[in-house]
Amino acid sequence: MKRCRAPVTLFLLAAGVPFVLSFACFLISQRGSLLTEPEEYIAALKQARRISYRIGLSAWKHALARNPLCSEADEVVIGSSRVREIDTIVAGTSVCNLYVEGLSAPGFARLAQALAPPAPGEHHVVYVGLDHFWLWSVDTRNFAGVEHMLLTRARPLWRVWAALQPLNFFTGSDLFEAMRRYRQSSPRFEDQANGWYYLDGHVFYASYYAKKRAGLHHSVSQQEIEESVRALFHQGRVRESHLHALEAGVRHLHAKGYAVRLFWNPLSYAHLEATQRLFPVLFQQTIEAIDRLASTLPLDHYFPASQTLDASRFGCTESDDFDELHVDIDCLRRVFSVAFHSSKAHT
C-alpha cells in the first residue's frame, strides 16, 4: 500500500470538514425533531401545549399509546393522516389521536398492542379510520424497524442512530431552510405552514384555516387527484396478512376493554370518483373484504363505506379539501357530528 500523500489529506479535509460542519449545524438546528426522545417530547408538549416541530410519528404515537394520557381519554382515534386533525372539538369529548402518516393494518395492530388498557369499569371508545390502502400498504418500516428496537433496548445507541438518520435525506436545501427557521425562531401562530402539534396527538394547520377563513382556497386539479390515487392504488391488492393484522388489532383492543368503532375515512367527491373510475375492481374488493371481516369482529359499531366514505354526503364541498388526499377539519367535524354522534345517541 502506497503511503497517502498530502493532496489526499487536503482533499479529504476540503471535502470532509465543511460537510461535517454543515451536517452538525443542521443537526443542532433541528435537534428538537431529530434527537428528542418520545417521552421527552410528550413532556415538552405538556409544558408548552403545542409545538411547531415533531419527532418521528410512529415513535411519538407508540409512546403516547402507552401514556396514561391516552388510556384516560374518552376516545382514542387510530388511523392514517386522514384523521390527523381530529381533536376534542371534533370529537366532542377528550381525545387521544394516534394518527400515523401512511398507517396500514400491520401498523394499526402494533399500535393496538401498545395502547394501555382503560381503567377498570371505564367505557372508552376507539375510532379506527380505515383506508383502502390498509390492506396492501407496507408500513413496517415505521413500526418494526431499527428505531423501535433501539428505543426499547438501547437508548444511547438510538441517539447515535437518530443523529445519523438525516444522512438519508439531508441536502443543502435542508441546511438553508434550517438556518432560515433558526433565524425566525418564534413564528406567529397563523404563519406556521407546517402545523402545530398538540399533546393529545393531533395536528392543526393554522395557516390553512387562516387562509380559508379569509376566502383563499387552493383548488386541487384533477391531475393531482388522479396522480395521488394512482400512487395509493398502484400495485395494490388485498393481502390476507393485512386482513389478519386488522383482525388482530381489533381483537387486542376489544380484549383490553375498549369499544371499537370501525369507519371509512371520508374522501372528497373528486378523489372518490377518481378512485372508482381508475381502480373500480380493487376499490370494491377492498370494501367487500373489510365488510366480510367486520361481520366477524367484536365491534361496538361498524360504519360501512356507504355511510362515511363519501364526504359530500355530509355537505363537504371542494372548499373543504385540504389537499388532493385529505378533507379538512370542517368536513371531519360534520362527519363526526352527523355519523358518529347520532349513532352514539342511538347506542
Binding site: M1, V8, A14, F19, T171, Q235
Partner: protein, 465 residues
C-alpha cells in the same frame, strides 16, 4: 445501493477497503469481494442476486464442459445452451412485455384494417427488470464464447469467475469487462493489497461531481420542458436536446469514472468507456469514443461474425444496420431505441460510402457536423413515443423564436457543453495521482458541494438498461 449514497460512501466502501487491506490471502479476498458484491446487488432486489448466481453457476459449469469436451457437436451444444440461457433471461426480463405489446398493437391494427374480429392475445406481465442484467449477461456470453473459441481457458475456480461477473464497481452499468482483462488481474493479486489510492479516490470524486453537479443539475432544468415537447420553441428545443446530450454524457461517464476509481481503490484496472465522444469527427469515431466497451462487444460478437466489411458494400451496410439496430434495442425495449440505433446505423453506412468526401473537410466542420447529428439522434433516445419525437423534431426546425430562453439551462448546459467539447484532457487523460495541492483542495470543495446535494441526486440513466 447507489455509488452516490451515504450508505455506500460511509459504510459499504470503507468496509470493503478495510477488508481488502486486512485479508492477506488473495483467494479469500476474492471471496470477500464476491460476497460484498452480492450484498451490494441485494439492495437492488434480493431475488436479483439469486438470478445472477444461477446465471453465474450455469455459465461456469458450461464453460468447463466446453473446454473439456473434444466433440465439436457437444461443444456447440454447450455454448448454445449458455447463450440460450443468457439471452433467454434477457429476452424474458427485458423484452417480454415489449414483444407482447407489439403483438397486441399489430393484432389491433389488423382488426382496424381488415375488420376481422380479433381478441387481444396477450396482456402485459408485471415483470421487474433486474438491475444490470444487460451488462452481466453480455459479460457471461462473452466468457463462454471466448472459451468456445479457445481464446481463453475456462476459469477453474468458481469464486474467481463469480467475482468477474459480480464485482460491484462494474456490476450495475458496466464497463462491460472482458474476461481476458479481469480474470488475469484477479489471479495476479498479491497478499498485500495494492491500490492506487489517490488516483482512485480523485477519479471517483470527479465522477461523483460530474453526476451530481452537472448531470443532475441539467436534468432539473430540462425535464420540465420534456414533459410537453409540443410547446417548445426552436431555441428551447435545441437547448433542451443539447442539455440532454450533456446530461447523458456526464451521467454515464460520471458513473464510469466512479466505477474505474473504485477499481483503482481495490487494485483493479477497468477499461476506459468514454473518450471525449462529443469531439468525434465522424460516426465511426463516435463509436470508438462513446460506451467503448459496448461498441467493442457489438463489433466482436455481432458485426464481425455477421461478416463485418469483408463481403462488399451492401453486406457491410446490412451488417452495420443489424448491429446498430440490435445495439439500440440493447439499450431499452422500445421502438424509439431501435430508431436511435437505426439512425446511427444509417450514419455509419453513409459515412462508409462517403468517407473520402467527409474526411476532406476541416476537423472543426466535421466535429460540428457530427455533434449536430448526435444531438438530433438523442431525440428518439429520450422521447419514447413517435408523437413526441416528431413534435420535438418539428420544434427544432420550426423557426419559432416566440418564447424566451431558459437562462438557468443556458448557463448549466453551456458550461457543460464547453467542458465536453473544448476541455482538452478528459478524466482518462488526467494523471490523478500527480495532482497538486491546489487542485486537490478545489476537487475537495467541489466534492463537499456534491455531498450536500447527493440525497437529491437521481438514479444513473443507464441503470434502466
Amino acid at each position: 445501493m447507489l455509488f452516490n449514497s451515504f450508505l455506500f460512501l460511509l459504510v459499504f466502501l470503507p468496509a470493503v477497503l478495510a477488508g481488502s487491506c486486512l485479508i492477506r490471502v488473495p483467494r479469500y479476498r476474492i471471496i470477500f469481494w464476491t460476497l460484498a458484491s452480492w450484498i451490494f446487488y441485494g439492495f437492488a432486489g434480493p431475488w436479483f442476486v439469486l438470478l445472477m448466481m444461477a446465471s453465474t453457476g450455469l455459465d461456469f459449469l458450461l464453460a468447463q464442459r466446453i473446454a473439456r469436451s473434444t466433440s465439436p457437436g457437444a461443444r456447440r451444444a454447450y455454448v448454445i445452451t449458455s447463450l440460450g440461457f443468457g439471452l433467454g433471461l434477457l429476452g424474458f426480463f427485458k423484452y417480454c412485455n415489449f414483444f407482447l405489446d407489439t403483438v397486441n398493437t399489430m393484432v389491433g391494427a389488423l382488426h382496424d384494417l381488415v375488420g376481422i374480429p380479433t381478441i387481444p392475445l396477450t396482456t402485459s406481465l408485471a415483470i421487474v427488470l433486474p438491475a444490470g442484467i444487460s451488462f452481466y449477461t453480455f459479460e457471461t456470453i462473452r466468457y463462454t464464447i471466448d472459451v468456445y473459441r479457445r481464446h481463453i481457458p475456462p476459469e477453474p475456480d468458481f469464486w474467481y469467475f463469480a467475482c468477474f461477473v459480480s464485482l460491484f464497481p462494474h456490476l450495475i452499468a458496466g464497463p462491460i469487462i472482458k474476461p481476458g482483462d479481469l480474470l488475469p488481474q484477479l489471479h495476479a493479486l498479491e497478499p498485500r493489497h495494492q491500490w492506487r489510492f489517490q488516483h482512485g479516490l480523485f477519479l471517483f470524486a470527479g465522477g461523483l461531481c460530474k453526476k451530481v453537479l452537472i448531470a443532475d443539475r441539467i436534468a432539473v432544468s430540462i425535464d420540465p420542458f420534456l414533459f410537453n415537447v409540443t410547446d417548445l420553441s426552436m431555441p428551447r428545443a435545441w437547448m433542451v436536446m443539447v442539455g440532454f446530450a450533456m446530461q447523458i454524457y456526464f451521467d454515464f461517464s460520471g458513473y464510469t469514472d466512479m466505477a474505474r476509481g473504485l477499481g483503482y481503490l481495490i487494485g483493479i484496472e477497468f477499461p476506459v468507456n468514454f473518450n471525449s465522444p462529443y469531439r468525434a469527427l465522424d460516426p465511426s469515431d463516435f463509436w470508438q469514443r462513446w460506451h467503448i466497451t459496448l461498441s467493442t462487444w457489438l463489433r466482436d460478437y455481432l458485426y464481425i461474425p455477421l461478416g463485418g466489411s469483408r463481403r462488399g458494400s451492401l453486406r457491410t451496410y446490412r451488417n452495420l444496420m443489424v448491429t446498430m439496430l440490435l445495439g439500440g434495442l440493447w439499450h431499452g425495449a422500445g421502438w424509439n431505441f431501435v430508431l436511435w440505433g437505426g439512425l446511427h446505423g444509417i450514419a455509419l453506412s453513409v459515412y462508409h460510402q462517403f468517407r473520402g468526401y467527409w474526411d476532406s473537410f476541416p476537423d472543426t466542420v466535421r466535429r460540428a457536423g457530427m455533434f449536430l447529428f448526435i444531438v438530433l439522434s438523442w431525440v428518439p433516445f429520450r422521447l419514447h413515443n413517435l408523437r413526441d419525437i416528431l413534435a420535438c423534431y418539428r420544434a427544432m426546425f420550426a423557426l419559432d423564436f416566440s418564447v424566451g430562453l431558459p437562462w438557468r439551462l443556458l448557463l448549466v448546459g453551456g458550461a457543460s457543453t464547453a467542458i465536453a467539447l473544448f476541455v482538452r484532457r478528459n478524466s482518462n487523460e488526467i494523471n490523478w495521482a500527480m495532482l497538486g495541492s491546489t487542485t486537490a483542495i478545489t476537487l475537495g470543495l467541489a466534492t463537499f458541494i456534491t455531498l450536500l446535494y447527493i440525497n437529491s441526486s437521481t438514479r444513473f440513466l443507464y441503470f434502466q438498461f
